[in-house]
Symmetry: none
Subunit: 157 residues, 2 copies
């Protein structure tokens, strides 16, 4: 059930982003918290767990009077970002949440098919990972996505 408050807030923001022509929206944290009847810091929780760079979003903000949150959907330029992603983001370590976010994003961008997305998500969430230390888990996730990307990037397919 996708019905936790965090999920609702996430969907609400994504609908707003879809409606915005340029993939950028600005909202006020306190106003959003009012709409969903939650504490303001819950908004930060949602942003921190669902709108990270790995998920394909960037968040900017400003405090004080006239403050705001600006959520930017990063657009994916296949020719440049693909290579960039492969080399830089994925060389690091990925939490499960970030890994799934990245896989989902690659699907949204048409890089992976739905089946491939589900296979990779499944592999990245295998219980086997629990045997490993946290660092190894995150490294392995990164390597798995990297391996998949390396294959998908091949030109002879």
């Amino acid at each position: 059930m996708m019905s936790s408050m965090s999920n609702k807030i996430e969907m609400y923001l994504k609908v707003m982003l879809d409606r915005a022509s340029n993939g950028v929206i600005e909202v006020q944290r306190s106003e959003l918290a009012d709409i969903f009847d939650c504490v303001p810091s819950q908004i930060n929780y949602v942003l921190g767990t669902r709108f990270t760079p790995a998920h394909g979003y960037k968040v900017e903000s400003r405090r004080g009077g006239g403050g705001f949150l600006r959520i930017i959907r990063l657009n994916f330029e296949p020719d440049t970002d693909f290579q960039h992603l492969f080399e830089e983001i994925i060389g690091e370590e990925l939490s499960q949440n970030q890994g799934e976010g990245l896989i989902e994003r690659l699907f949204q961008e048409g890089v992976l098919t739905k089946r491939e997305k589900l296979i990779l998500k499944q592999i990245c969430s295998m219980s086997f990972f629990n045997r490993l230390g946290l660092e190894d888990q995150e490294f392995l996730r990164a390597k798995i996505i990297q391996a998949a990307l390396a294959t998908v990037m091949r030109e002879d397919l």
Copy 2:
């Protein structure tokens, strides 16, 4: 002889699955335990003994607030090659050669696309594996192929 509680829970879930249009249901463990007046862990027992890939089902879950169990029916009949395949590789360990052979076979049988085959081979030959002991390596390979196979057989794809 009275049907055991596990049998009742099993039937209940299978009726729900029949009613669901796409062979997928989501339930809450604690809610189900409440309905049958049993401890929550009994639900895990039922899932672990009756809803495995070898039985033609796959279970995904999420912990924490808003958590759930998702039961997915797989798209193959009992007593077919696929069932035997699952039984074969469950709990087994696969050398790199065996792993690649199995992946190749699944491709030949039309279960995996060419891209999926290459992705899985790439993953199974990652250098990361060298950090692990031989036993872990082989176990991980088996788990990866199981995960991919179970995913690809989902009814809702």
